[in-house]
Amino acid sequence: MTGEYGGGIEIDLRGERITLLPERAAYWHGASTLLVADPHWGKAATFRASGIPVPSGTTRDALDRLTSAVNRTSATRVVFLGDLLHAKKGRSNDLFSALAAWRKENEAVDVVMVRGNHDRRAGDPPAELGFDCVDAPLPSGPFILAHHPTTDPAGYVIAGHVHPGIRLYGRGGERARLPCFFIGKETAILPAFGDFTGLADFEPAEGTTVYAVAEDRVIQV
């Protein structure tokens, strides 16, 4: 673990160096690529538009976190593994101007979006953002980048979709639920990047190593 990636954990996947970052993203060194799953941008706005009060601020925080990850890793490419936007109702001007501002700050970075189930209904982000939107799967080196965690004979799948979480128990009844990375034999599942996304508790497949994000540190569980 090097200083620049403080708090992260480096692992080896099919011979490639991958750092699992506390920003809830993974950095693929060989391709200078930052992998990000399930931002669900516009989710809070979707709720508000439907009469459910959710405070604003989740999008801004997530974009700041994304900038931090890009800067810390000097990534030249960001690949979103689906569910970039939450729903059609959440396509607000506020959101798109925040995304545009982020884009301006990170002009040099190539951005690719592999579409997920939410994107089909929510639609692609505005073309001005210059995000390259493609359907899954996206083969990339030894990896298959996708939204749904499946297995693929053509390569090792890196995906999102399930928002993995894990419960940890401490002494005296302390409990915590943390987002986590599931690193399996043929598939890796990244935590959901968005702040207003929630976690799903489920049993990882056999042979899966679980890494939890505990605030500014990734720990192996």
């Binding site: 009469g51 459910i52 607000s92 002494r171």
Partner: protein, 829 residues
């Protein structure tokens, strides 16, 4: 209207026709009702409270219609449709609505009144609903939730225009809950619509009956009174003493050993009710009794709130006609209009409260002058102590109080939106109405303003949430919900105050069996077997909010566990229990239970001590596991959980140390890898009752508890929606867990008052802060006695087991406990 006894004639006559005679308290209620008074009637179940409340409005109608008849208008009235809504009858349980309507219908039919009596609950069919939406019946039996739904109609004022009285049944059940607050708010609205509306509450006898009246009637009900029903019969509390007294008892296993004695007791009478404290215990005991007496198949049944209505009807009918010899039941048979008296009442396990013990005893002895007898069956040897204490409490009339909920903002937010969906409101008027309830009498301006902005622009401190509006102001300055989708979703979420989502259990090809908590079903896999409604079942799948099952060949597998099943010991029973311990400490073993417990107390006093009335016992034991501290305040589990956390935190302020904890109704355990500085902690104010406000949140991992408490708040305040049937994609996009809301509010809108409500509820409801404070006052005045037993003494043993139980699987557990018991028994000689 003539205020005299003579107007009671029709009632007297009707009673006479049935061979009855009205009780004095019933006459008192009828006259008070005629005089325009409201009130609260309290008495045991099945003593004529229903008829006391019902004949008031009946007599009023007869009186009015006689006048009409004198003016020749009666014929016209008869020909027209039934009289418009006059009586609202609120019942806490859907299951009781049908029974109640039936009981109310009897005199109506006999008097040939042009009245309709109907129910409206979550179970009401679509046909009845649509008929009722055109015209409500003359008397409507409904639940608090369904009443709120009626208030969300845009013609609410018209529908309630002729309403004379609201009767709230089982008010003691509602009062301590948020549904009680929901009822208070609905009553305030109804009083706003119909000035002069009378409110009559029916309640079991509770310790704070005056407060119960104030809470029910609020501040706008005019003259009112408390009416006490018939005096209770003489009550006898006894118990089945286990043949072998284990000196190291633990909960949960003794039960089955007691089955032969229980069966003998059942055989003493023609009919019996076996009460248990939880629905899963009902299933277990039903199976156990049937295994002991297979020939009873068909004449023994079970009854609990999760069973299908039809099954319960059949059971109740069977008891009434004495076709059933025994029914195993939960408190579902505690409530209800119809008195089902039996020869024999048994109570499995401690009743945990004096009121419950009294109520259950009241189910037996139906001949006039007969005594009510309840026989307690310990599931844990030490429960004999609770029986002895319970008897003292019953004799002293130390009935528990129920404490009303004050100022829950989630319920208020829901109510405001309900009114906005209906006729809309002007804030200043609604505030006055809301403040007329006891729950919100002291609602501060800023909390009111916050709730208004929460339902209109998001409630964030300085600016509203973007894109958000739920309640909007129309051109007349009335606040309304105009978006029909939001209105529909709100209507669906009213009535989600009741805690967990339930899911129906139904045969693949056949009838519905009842319902269980979704969390139980969620753990099942296809092919898993479980026992429900006394029947072994195989789980097939869940679809459309129904758990489909088929009959399984034999009884194996899990018994469903329902939420809220562990009742804590009540404060009154706890006090009686400490008094009994005090006697034992002085060598006085009064009564068969205490006599039976003598061997346990003998070991307890040899190895440690029986705490006297002014002593606080702390035991310090070292085992391979580490250093155990056992504390015995005898105040009930909830208080002990709070104290355990508080003590752990206060001790760790002296020296960093971590503890594992366990609590039961008698005391709690703190286990640490190193020895805890208990003497230093005591000297530094471990028992100090001051600073609780600061120390409790600091000690409690309070955020985690508040986060859990927020589940209910988020549901009531309309943030999350439990189980939309067949919800489409767009509804799924609006699903988020309450925990997620909690985190997001905490981070982005820390001023959200629902968060502070969650913290307050943790302190006041879960931890009973007041009782915690009183306990500390008592303990700090007591003499602290620290003993250092070499092995775990009998009082501490159940705590040791409880903590162990959480960690190991159940099969291995019983073996392990047996080994521990054997070792301790050998040591005790």
């Amino acid at each position: 209207m003539i205020l005299s006894e003579s107007t009671l004639g029709p009632a007297e006559k009707w009673f006479e026709s049935r061979g009855w005679k009205p009780f004095e308290f019933q006459r008192e209620v009828w006259l008070a009702y005629q005089a325009g008074e409201s009130g609260l009637i309290h008495a045991a179940t099945g003593t004529g409270k229903t008829l006391a409340a019902w004949w008031g409005p009946l007599l009023e109608y007869l009186d009015e219609s006689n006048e009409i008849e004198r003016t020749g208008a009666r014929r016209r009235l008869r020909r027209s449709a039934a009289a418009p809504l006059r009586v609202l009858w609120i019942t806490p349980l859907r299951a009781l609505a049908g029974d109640t309507a039936e009981a109310l219908s009897a005199p109506v039919a006999q008097l040939e009144l042009p009245w309709t009596v109907e129910t409206r609950t979550g179970d009401t069919t679509a046909t009845s609903r649509s008929r009722q939406s055109k015209r409500l019946p003359t008397a409507l039996v409904t639940t608090p939730e369904s009443l709120s739904l009626l208030l969300s109609r845009q013609n609410a004022s018209d529908q309630f225009a002729d309403l004379r009285v609201v009767v709230v049944d089982e008010w003691h059940e509602l009062m301590g809950t948020k549904r009680g607050v929901q009822t208070e708010l609905a009553l305030a609205r109804l009083r706003g619509i119909c000035p002069g509306l009378r409110t009559w509450g029916l309640s079991a006898t509770i310790g704070n009956i005056g407060e119960a009246r104030r809470t029910l009637l609020g501040r706008g009900s005019g003259t009112s009174r408390i009416v006490r029903g018939v005096e209770p019969k003489e009550i006898v509390v006894d118990s089945l003493i286990p043949p072998v007294i284990e000196r190291f008892p633990w909960a949960g296993h003794l039960g089955t050993q007691m089955v032969p004695q229980v069966v003998e007791a059942i055989e003493e009478g023609e009919t019996a009710i076996v009460f248990t404290n939880t629905r899963s215990q009902t299933e277990i005991w039903y199976q156990a009794i049937l295994a002991q007496r297979p020939e009873w198949a068909g004449s023994i049944a079970l009854h609990h709130g999760s069973l299908d209505r039809k099954t319960r009807d059949w059971v109740e009918e069977g008891l009434r006609t004495a076709n059933l010899r025994c029914v195993v039941a939960t408190s579902s048979l505690d409530l209800g209009v119809d008195f089902l008296p039996v020869d024999r009442v048994l109570q499995i396990g401690s009743p945990k409260g004096i009121a419950r013990l009294t109520q259950r005893a009241g189910r037996s002895g139906h001949r006039p002058g007969a005594v009510s007898r309840v026989t307690c069956v310990p599931t844990h040897t030490l429960e004999l102590l609770e029986v002895a204490a319970g008897r003292d409490g019953v004799e002293a009339g130390a009935i528990e109080s129920r404490y009303p909920v004050t100022r829950p903002l989630d319920v208020l937010a829901q109510h405001i939106v309900t009114i906005a969906v209906g006729e809309g409101f002007v804030p200043s008027e609604l505030l006055e109405e809301v403040r007329s309830t006891e729950a919100y009498a002291d609602l501060p301006e800023d909390e009111w303003e916050w709730v208004l902005s929460f339902v209109s622009n998001g409630g964030e401190a300085l600016k509203g949430y973007p894109e958000y509006s739920k309640v909007v102001t129309d051109t007349d300055g009335r606040w309304r919900v105009e978006d029909s989708t939001i209105a529909r979703r709100h209507r669906m979420s009213i009535g989600t105050i009741v805690s967990d989502a339930h899911i129906a259990v139904q045969y693949l090809r056949g009838r519905r069996l009842g319902s269980v908590e979704e969390s139980f079903i969620a753990r099942l896999k296809q092919g898993d077997r479980f026992v429900f409604a006394g029947t072994p079942l195989e789980f097939v799948r869940v679809r459309d909010m129904v758990a489909w099952v088929r009959r399984a060949p034999n009884v194996t597998g899990a018994i469903p566990r329902w939420m809220g099943s562990r009742l804590p010991l009540s404060g009154e029973l706890a006090a009686a229990l400490r008094a009994r311990l005090g006697e034992a400490a002085a060598g006085n073993f009064r009564g068969p239970e205490m006599e039976a417990l003598r061997p346990i107390f003998d070991v307890q006093s040899r190895w440690s001590k029986i705490p006297g009335p002014d002593e606080f016992l702390i035991e310090r034991v070292q085992t391979r596991e580490g250093f155990h501290l056992y504390f015995f305040p005898f105040e009930g589990r909830l208080v002990h959980e709070g104290l355990a956390a508080l003590f752990a935190w206060r001790i760790s302020q002296i020296r960093p140390i971590s503890f594992a904890m366990a609590s039961n109704d008698y005391g709690f355990e703190l286990l640490s890898p190193d020895e805890a500085p208990i003497e230093d902690a005591l000297a530094a104010g471990l028992l100090d009752p001051s600073n609780l406000i600061d120390d409790i949140p600091a000690s409690l991992n309070a955020t985690e508890m508040a986060r859990r408490q927020f589940r209910e708040i988020a549901r009531v305040a309309g943030l999350v929606f439990p189980g939309f049937p067949r919800s489409g994609k767009s509804a799924r996009q609006l699903q988020a867990s309450s925990g997620l809301f909690f985190d997001v509010f905490k981070r982005y809108d820390a001023g959200n008052m629902l968060l502070s409500q969650a913290h307050r509820e943790v302190l006041e409801r879960q931890l009973e802060r007041t009782r915690l404070g009183h306990t500390l006052q008592r303990l700090s005045a007591a003499r602290v006695v620290i003993t250092n037993p070499k092995r775990t003494p009998p009082l501490a043993f159940p705590l040791l087991i409880d903590r162990t139980r959480d960690r190991v699987s159940s099969e291995k557990l019983s073996d392990r406990i047996k080994r521990m018991q054997r070792a301790l028994e050998r040591a005790a000689g």
